[in-house]
């Protein structure tokens, strides 16, 4: 089908590309699902549409009613996707954004008419969540969809991303994705558990931004409610952390297979490679991994062009997950 009534009809049904040329082992196939193909450019299009549809279904948002305001904390992609959907559905969106996200994200939010509320960069995503919670409490007439806790987030992946993966890759043995809100891992993970109990679910922990984690002590930590609600600790088989340098290296290596992807994709690929390295030579495996977005929003980081030491240093203070 090549003719669509709305840009929202372009969300989902993303292609899966064989990137086994990057696999460290000949007996391990690695396939990447290209979520950058969504119309607002990331996997979060699925989440944004699901959050808004659920709110309209529940009567929290009323299509056509004027002056409805939404507030949402986002490190970028959810805000951008929500901005696009809100523009089409006629809602006013306020995005609480850490001040140190890449400038392209700000531009995209502006393009779709979202209002940006800066949260302190040094407090990272935690700070954005805290500020959105407090603004929402002060303005109860605003709708706070709260992607970190809203079941419509993992539901988008349970209903769509998971089934798409199993249809395209029935031979899947491992699923590897990044841990942000945990929506992708919880939704796809739960779907795969139900239909292919033997599939291993691996989470990639983004490199922790020690400069921007906003913690005064450990009790300021944060676990997304949807991770707890979906029994994330039981759902996952492994959780691996990746380092800044390997994230940049794998972001660059994606270009060897013709893919220009965002920095979180490099981090997730580094995790997929760790996963591949656990497979014995006499076994075979098919790993499906997620490419959350393309590289365009990260050009200002110099990730592809500059000296890697400089890029790693610079990128340590940029939030991208």
């Amino acid at each position: 089908m090549t003719r669509f009534a709305s840009v929202l009809d372009l969300i989902g049904q993303t292609p899966i590309i064989d990137v086994s040329a990057l696999s460290p082992k000949p007996n391990v196939t690695i396939l990447a699902k290209l979520e950058g193909r969504n119309p607002a450019g990331s996997v979060k299009d699925r989440v944004a549409l699901s959050l808004i549809d659920a709110a309209e279904r529940d009567g929290v948002l009323i299509p056509g009613k004027p002056d409805q305001v939404l507030i949402e904390p986002s490190s970028g992609n959810t805000g951008i996707a929500l901005a696009m959907v809100c523009r089409l559905r006629g809602y006013h969106l306020k995005v609480v954004l850490p001040s140190n996200v890449s400038p392209e994200r700000r531009q995209l939010l502006f393009a779709w008419g979202a209002e940006i509320i800066d949260s302190p960069g040094a407090e990272g995503s935690n700070g954005a969540v805290r500020l959105a919670q407090s603004l929402s409490a002060d303005n109860p007439e605003w709708t706070f969809l709260y992607q970190y806790a809203n079941p419509a987030n993992p539901e988008a992946h349970y209903r769509h991303t998971g089934p798409e993966i199993l249809t395209d890759v029935p031979e899947i043995t491992h699923f590897v994705a990044g841990l942000g809100t945990s929506g992708t891992l919880m939704g796809v993970g739960r779907y795969l558990r139900e239909h292919r109990p033997d599939v291993q679910i691996w989470a990639v922990e983004p490199p922790s931004g020690e400069m921007v984690d906003g913690l005064r002590n450990l009790d300021d930590g944060y676990i997304p409610p949807i991770f707890l609600d979906n029994h994330g600790a039981q759902l996952l088989d492994r959780r691996v952390v990746v380092r800044p340098r390997e994230s940049i290296e794998w972001t660059r290596r994606f270009t060897e297979v013709g893919l220009f992807v965002g920095l979180s994709s490099g981090a997730i690929m580094a995790g997929a490679v760790k996963c591949a390295n656990t497979i014995a030579d006499e076994d075979s495996a098919t790993i499906v991994t997620i490419v959350p977005d393309d590289g365009w929003k990260y050009l200002s980081t110099g990730a592809w062009s500059d000296n890697i030491d400089d890029v790693v240093e610079r990128a340590k203070s940029i939030i991208y997950f």
């Binding site: 922790s208 984690d213 913690l215 492994r238 920095l263 760790k274 991208y320």
Partner: protein, 93 residues
């Protein structure tokens, strides 16, 4: 067994300011016990009273979260690198 333990920024003030320390132990639990014996102020930050990991603390042996490797019983071999990471809403590079 000796492992290198990387200390996150948030715990450094209570642990003498070091970014990493070398600690003896053959399991994650032993390593943390030795660490908290030396720096009693952080004990409540790392472990619950029943000896399990604090809910907002993620511990990695090399690159692997120990919650999926047996928790505090996860084995540590000579030269392993142990990273303590607070659970936060998102990451950066």
């Amino acid at each position: 067994m000796t492992a290198l333990v990387r200390i996150p920024t948030v715990l450094r003030p209570a642990m003498g300011g070091d970014t990493s320390v070398t600690v003896e132990g053959s399991t994650v639990g032993e390593i943390l016990d030795h660490l908290t014996a030396e720096h009693p102020a952080v004990k409540g930050q790392l472990l619950n009273s029943d000896g399990t990991l604090h809910r907002f603390l993620n511990v990695y042996v090399n690159d692997d979260d120990v919650r999926y490797l047996g928790g505090v019983d996860a084995p540590v071999t000579n030269g392993d690198e142990i990273t303590l990471l607070p659970a936060v809403a998102g990451g950066t590079l």
